[in-house]
């Protein structure tokens, strides 16, 4: 039986060592990784700046990225909600002359210990207006715009 214990302890030691190595790799990669900053002249850059402004609560700045044809404005962003811990990942970019389509995957509550982790997929439509990319339609985290208010 001692041989059994020895072999299982060897496996356990192996698992512990692999876990420690993985933790070290994860720590290194996490520390050395930085979020890619896209140029403001690109569709990805516009979406990135728009979302940063929304997260920072600078809703007027965020609204400046809306197309002139959009019915959304800063008050619509005021009504929107995003969770405390949110991570937006770029999943796809398609640029067709004066139109662009940006797909993102939004991870919510991933960094919470007992958080309700879930992922949503959203698309941003953009159009070139006076040489600048502007967001069309009702982009996430907005779900409705131009609601009639008394």
């Amino acid at each position: 039986m001692s041989e059994t214990r020895r072999s299982s302890n060897q496996i356990l030691t192996g698992i512990v060592l692999i876990t420690l190595a993985l933790a070290a790799v994860a720590a290194f990669l996490t520390a050395s990784r930085e979020t890619e900053e896209f140029a403001p002249s690109t569709p990805q850059g516009v979406v990135q700046l728009f979302l940063k402004a929304v997260i920072d609560g600078k809703n007027e700045d965020a609204a400046s990225y809306f197309s002139t044809t959009s019915t959304c404005d800063a008050t619509d962003i005021d009504r929107s909600w995003i969770p405390d811990t949110v991570r937006v990942n770029l999943t796809d970019t398609q640029v067709e002359s004066n139109r662009a389509f940006i797909d993102v995957a939004v991870d919510m509550n991933q960094d919470q210990l007992f958080g309700d982790l879930y992922t949503e997929k959203h698309s941003f439509r953009l159009a070139l207006e006076n040489g600048k990319w502007k967001i069309l339609g009702i982009p996430w985290p907005l779900y409705s715009c131009d609601e009639v208010t008394k």
């Binding site: 993985l22 994860a26 996490t30 940063k52 992922t119």
Partner: protein, 578 residues
């Protein structure tokens, strides 16, 4: 709408109960104590009692509220009067019928339906009284407005509970009322623990949050609410557990309560709370915080403090109860086995829970690695460091506890061969493989689906790997755990599992005497069935049973399974195997 769903469900339950009762033998032999008549009689009695109580409570509540109401619809009044006028006479009628059947047939009190009725009514009354009592105390301490309905409901359902408690005490045997006591204990423990945990938390918050900016608005003092929960839960737990439940016979239901609700429940609360506190601390020093105010950042930790302390208390109390049960009953399987099977169940439960925490930590490390390898972040409110800290927290909390208990278990493997042949150990190992297999299959399904989805939609790329990160991480962490346990199991699978000690099974053949069966059962600590010796109309068993002789004969028999036949001249014991 809800009633529309409940009606088919009700009939389905009845069908299952009837089918079960038709095909499963009654514990003390034929004739069965189940009948369709009883099922409907007691269901009707319960329904009419609820309707009558609701009507009476509603009307009395109006008296308490008189002077406060300035305008109202009379629909509630019409309903309450209807419930009282129709429900109460019918309840009295069915009640009289029940009283007669109970008096005429001694088997009636032993029937499943009667005892289920007592249990359901008693627990319904208990829960209603507790919720009403909570509301009354909130009002008494100035946190809510007075509601006459709550006071009347408390009085009426409290009275119903007292009456049915006394009925249970006077008419039911321990095995018939065990479920009632255990569920009542669980309710008491749950409310009491919640109250105690909330009290610790709110006191800690008061002590720590001396910054006025933190709390802007608060309607009711959480400490008061917590105290009320304690005031409501403590008497229930005392009455159900300390006075009765703790002294019940140590059998499956009793051990299930102590091990699952007490030991596992308390331990999970402790592990969860420790994880929250450690995670908040690690994030405060190494991660990204959402608030620079320590009081706000550690808000979850303060909340976890209460559940942690109470979890530790519940766990250690029930561990002591279990140890006491082991000592008093000497549950050890044999003289050569120094550890009782219950001790094993306890240790495997604790090591299993902590293993799950540590495995979740390993999984999160793999998730962090895969996320780092597939960068696609556009914007984020937190950094990936927090993901890594989740993993570190779970490993730091789970692995030391697991190691402590697992090395203790493995220490017994080295001492004797009893551990390897233990059914608990075998069940633990097989369950572990089973859970790992199910999780792996689900992970593979999810991973392959994500791969094919992106492949067929021409979107295959690093994003596919990122999406599948949890599936891959679950698969790999499960594989690691299964690998380690397989290395143990492969050397043990040839060892025959020791059979759990059989409780004695005795069949008494002779004149029907359910009381004797019950008395013998409690004397020998086993199962007793009674078979009536009437055959083709002739009565063969006119000689009455002599209890002392029956018990003496059973005890002198070596076999666990024996049939005792009450013959004309003497008792005869025939060993048998099922």
């Amino acid at each position: 709408m809800i009633f529309g769903l409940l009606v088919p469900l009700f009939f389905l339950v009845i069908l299952i109960v009837v089918a079960r009762k038709l095909f499963v033998r009654d514990g003390h032999g034929a004739p069965s104590t189940f009948s369709i008549r009883r099922l409907f009689q007691y269901a009707l009695l319960f329904g009419l009692l609820s309707v009558s109580a609701s009507g009476v409570a509603g009307l009395i509540g109006r008296l308490f509220d008189s002077g406060q109401i300035i305008a109202e619809s009379r629909t509630d009044l019409a309903r309450d009067i209807t419930f009282l006028l129709v429900g109460a006479p019918l309840y009295l009628l069915v009640g009289r019928w029940t009283k007669r059947t109970l008096a005429e047939d001694p088997l009636e009190r032993r029937s499943v339906a009667w005892n289920a009725y007592l249990t359901i009514v008693s627990l319904t009354a208990l829960i209603t009284s507790m919720t009403s009592g909570y509301g009354i105390l909130l009002w008494a301490l100035g946190n809510e407005r007075f509601q006459g309905q709550q006071l009347s409901r408390f009085l009426i359902w409290g009275l119903i509970w007292i009456v049915h408690w006394q009925l249970i005490q006077s008419t039911s045997h321990e095995e018939e009322s065990r479920t009632h006591y255990i569920i009542g204990s669980l309710i008491g423990l749950g409310v009491l623990s919640t109250g105690a945990a909330n009290l610790v938390t709110s006191v800690a918050r008061l002590a720590i949050n001396n910054d006025d900016k933190v709390v802007l608005l608060q309607r009711t003092d959480p400490s008061i609410k917590a105290l009320i929960l304690i005031v409501v839960g403590l008497p229930v737990w005392y009455q159900y557990w300390l006075r009765v439940g703790e002294h019940l016979k140590r059998e499956l239901l009793w051990f299930s309560y102590v091990l699952l609700a007490g030991v596992a429940g308390g331990f999970i609360a402790l592990i969860g709370s420790l994880s929250v506190a450690l995670y908040d601390t690690l994030v405060w020093f190494f991660g990204d915080t959402t608030s620079n105010l320590a009081a706000q950042h550690f808000n979850n930790s303060i909340g976890a403090l209460g559940s942690g302390i109470v979890g530790l208390g519940v766990w250690s109390y029930h561990a002591r109860v279990l140890r006491g049960a082991e000592e008093s009953q000497a549950i050890s399987v044999s003289a050569t086995d120094k550890r009782g099977e219950m001790r094993r169940v306890y240790e495997y439960i604790i090591s299993g829970i902590s293993l799950i925490a540590a495995a979740a930590g390993l999984m999160m490390i793999l998730v962090a690695v895969l996320e780092s390898l597939t960068p696609s972040e556009v914007v984020s409110t937190t950094s990936s460091t927090n993901t890594l800290l989740v993993a570190v927290t779970l490993i730091l909390v789970g692995s030391p506890v697991w190691w402590f208990f697992w090395s203790r278990i493995e220490g017994h493997v080295a001492i004797d061969g009893q551990e390897q042949s233990s059914p608990t150990r075998r069940i633990f190992l097989l369950m572990l493989f089973g859970v790992a297999a199910v999780a792996s299959v689900i992970s593979v399904l999810a991973g392959v689906f994500l791969f094919l989805d992106d492949l067929l939609n021409s979107q295959l790329g690093s994003e596919t790997l990122r999406q599948a990160r949890f599936a891959i991480a679950i698969l790999l962490s499960n594989a690691a755990i299964a690998w380690y346990h397989w290395s143990i199991y492969r050397h043990e699978r040839t060892i025959s599992v020791r059979k759990a000690k059989h409780e004695r099974f005795v069949v008494l053949v002779g004149p029907r005497d359910p009381e004797l069966a019950r008395e013998v059962e409690s004397e020998i600590e086993g199962k007793v069935q009674m078979w009536d010796s009437h055959f083709d109309g002739s009565v063969d068993g006119e000689i009455p049973w002599e209890k002392e002789k029956v018990i003496e004969l059973i005890k002198s028999t070596q076999n666990d399974e024996v049939m005792i036949i009450n013959e004309k001249k003497k008792l005869r014991a025939i060993p048998f195997h099922r």
